[in-house]
């Protein structure tokens, strides 16, 4: 399990961080802000997932970027700089192409952030965060996560058992295969329901349903977490101030216009870069520290 670097911080910090970068990523259309977010997300995802992340980005994200960039001008004909006309008579404008690129960029930024989220926010962190707020539902979540691997294993066993009495899902035509698949699902359901009653007994036996249930977790908000939280929140506040002042946005229609670059806006960009790069910076600092400790040993 990934418990190094940023993933080792308190789940609350992980969650606030990802909520912030995802929301900001969906919101800011200013090119500099978009590039900052896209580059940081890519760096972090490569750091987390290594070569697989590079492949994911080249194989899926790049074509997606192109498709999304083309999709927009085909349906959006606003803008003043007309490049050429389609056969249907609709104009293709420079503004709509730029707008398409911008929104495509936004989409893949969000997707790459999500790939980082998936690596860091494991199910137990989620269950912990929402264990107090929605105790019953997060218990259901925990139970489903327990059952699914178990059921998959059962499906495998059942299909072997069925196979060895001459009923094979990988044999025969489509209809037969589907029918055998249904038989397996049906056996699994009976098995799952009968066994689940015992699980309910086990819950009752350990007092589930008593009032004032608490929720335990292994996580503690320590001083390191608090420090990280303080830095993160200050950066978020600066970025939000920038948004309120219109520094992070960009106008596409009728003509392209971005907010001017001023010392204030540079501060905002820096804060945003700092925020997006926080996990990467944290990871690098940790690595440097280790090296210096190791050299002293």
């Amino acid at each position: 399990m990934n418990r190094n670097g940023f993933a080792g911080y308190h789940p609350l910090i992980n969650f606030v961080y990802f909520t912030a970068v995802l929301l900001f990523g969906m919101f800011f259309v200013h090119p500099i802000m978009q590039v900052i977010s896209l580059v940081s997300a890519s760096c972090y995802s490569i750091m987390l997932r290594g070569r697989r992340a590079v492949r994911f980005q080249l194989l899926y994200m790049l074509p997606l970027l192109l498709a999304a960039a083309l999709f927009n001008p085909a349906f959006n004909h606003a803008g003043v700089t007309i490049l050429f006309y389609l056969k249907s008579g609709n104009p293709i404008t420079l503004e709509s192409i730029l707008y398409g690129i911008s929104s495509a960029c936004m989409l893949i930024t969000v997707l790459i952030w999500f790939s980082c989220y998936n690596a860091v926010m494991t199910s137990d962190k989620f269950i912990y965060l929402f264990g107090k707020l929605i105790p019953a539902l997060s218990l259901i979540l925990s139970m489903v996560l327990r059952f699914v691997p178990r059921y998959k294993d059962q499906i495998r066993r059942i299909s072997y058992a069925q196979r060895s009495i001459g009923k094979d899902v990988s044999q025969g035509n489509l209809l037969r295969r589907a029918r055998n698949g249904l038989t397996i699902l049906s056996i699994m359901t009976t098995w799952a329901l009968e066994n689940a009653i015992e699980t309910a007994d086990s819950m009752k036996s350990r007092g589930y349903g008593l009032p004032r249930r608490t929720s335990y977790s292994l996580y503690r908000l320590d001083n390191r977490d608090k420090g990280f939280m303080a830095v993160m929140l200050s950066l978020i506040i600066i970025v939000v101030i920038g948004e309120v002042n219109g520094e992070n946005t960009m106008r596409f229609f009728p003509s392209v216009q971005t907010a001017e670059v001023t010392p204030f806006s540079i501060l905002i960009y820096a804060a945003y870069l700092g925020l997006c790069m926080m996990p990467v910076i944290q990871h690098m600092m940790e690595a440097i520290k280790w090296k210096s400790i190791a050299s002293k040993m």
Partner: protein, 244 residues
């Protein structure tokens, strides 16, 4: 059920109801207004995401408030896990998945609330295995609402525990509700502009996918509904799940 229903003094009761009302009457309109005025009406995806999350909140609140018993939790967890694992049972047939069918059966057998919860949980948990993304809330909502409607229509007597009735409903619901809503979601994800042509293009490109999905649901319900409902009824009877 043997658990005593006496232990039901909870101070958060009232607060949650208040929050729920606050959400419907204040937050949702405010979000829309915020989208229209503050965000220049361009952040459709973001606004739609928020509204979808809000619609799921009351379900969560009502359920939590009720202090569900161990067996209710188990039934919902088991059915969701079957739906998630059911995708694995049909590894040999891509695109042909039983999720919607199981959600509908859950709604019919255990009521609209259970239907919604099984659907939403399935949407959420399956993405722990396939990867969470901006599509997660949409899938949760779509599966949830299909289960909810199935339960509601059954309670009203418009939907019967007959396999023909169920599979017609299942096919339609999957095509219209799931396909209809998910396509809006993916379009908003793809382009931030809202136009009729773009929407039509999205529907056209998703047509075959939606059709296979709908057909799968209908077929699953046609074959699976009878034995599944029988099994659920047997469990209700054998372990006294029915009296509540």
């Amino acid at each position: 059920m043997q658990e005593s229903r006496l232990e039901k003094t909870n101070s958060r009761f009232g607060r949650r109801t208040l929050v729920s009302a606050f959400l419907i009457f204040v937050i949702i309109p405010a979000t829309i207004l915020f989208g229209v005025y503050a965000l220049d009406d361009r952040k459709y995806y973001f606004i739609s995401l928020l509204i979808i999350l809000y619609t799921m909140l009351p379900f969560a609140m009502v359920f939590e408030k009720r202090k569900p018993q161990a067996r209710e939790l188990i039934v919902i967890a088991v059915l969701s896990a079957i739906a998630v694992a059911g995708r694995a049972a049909f590894f040999m047939l891509p695109q042909f998945k039983p999720v919607a069918a199981i959600v509908i059966i859950a709604g019919v057998s255990f009521g609209p609330e259970a239907g919604f919860l099984v659907g939403a949980t399935t949407g959420f948990v399956s993405n722990f295995f396939f990867g969470q993304g901006p599509w997660t809330p949409w899938q949760m909502f779509c599966f949830g609402i299909i289960g909810f409607i199935a339960g509601l229509l059954f309670r009203k007597g418009w939907l019967r525990k007959k396999r023909l009735s169920l599979s017609v409903f299942g096919g339609l619901a999957t095509f219209v509700i799931y396909g209809g809503i998910i396509n809006i979601g993916s379009m908003l994800m793809f382009t931030p502009t809202l136009s009729r042509e773009a929407l039509i293009a999205t529907y056209v490109s998703g047509f075959w996918f939606d059709l296979i999905h709908a057909a799968a649901t209908a077929i699953f319900l046609f074959i699976l509904s009878k034995p599944m409902i029988e099994k659920l009824d047997r469990i209700k009877l054998k372990y006294g799940l029915i009296d509540r």
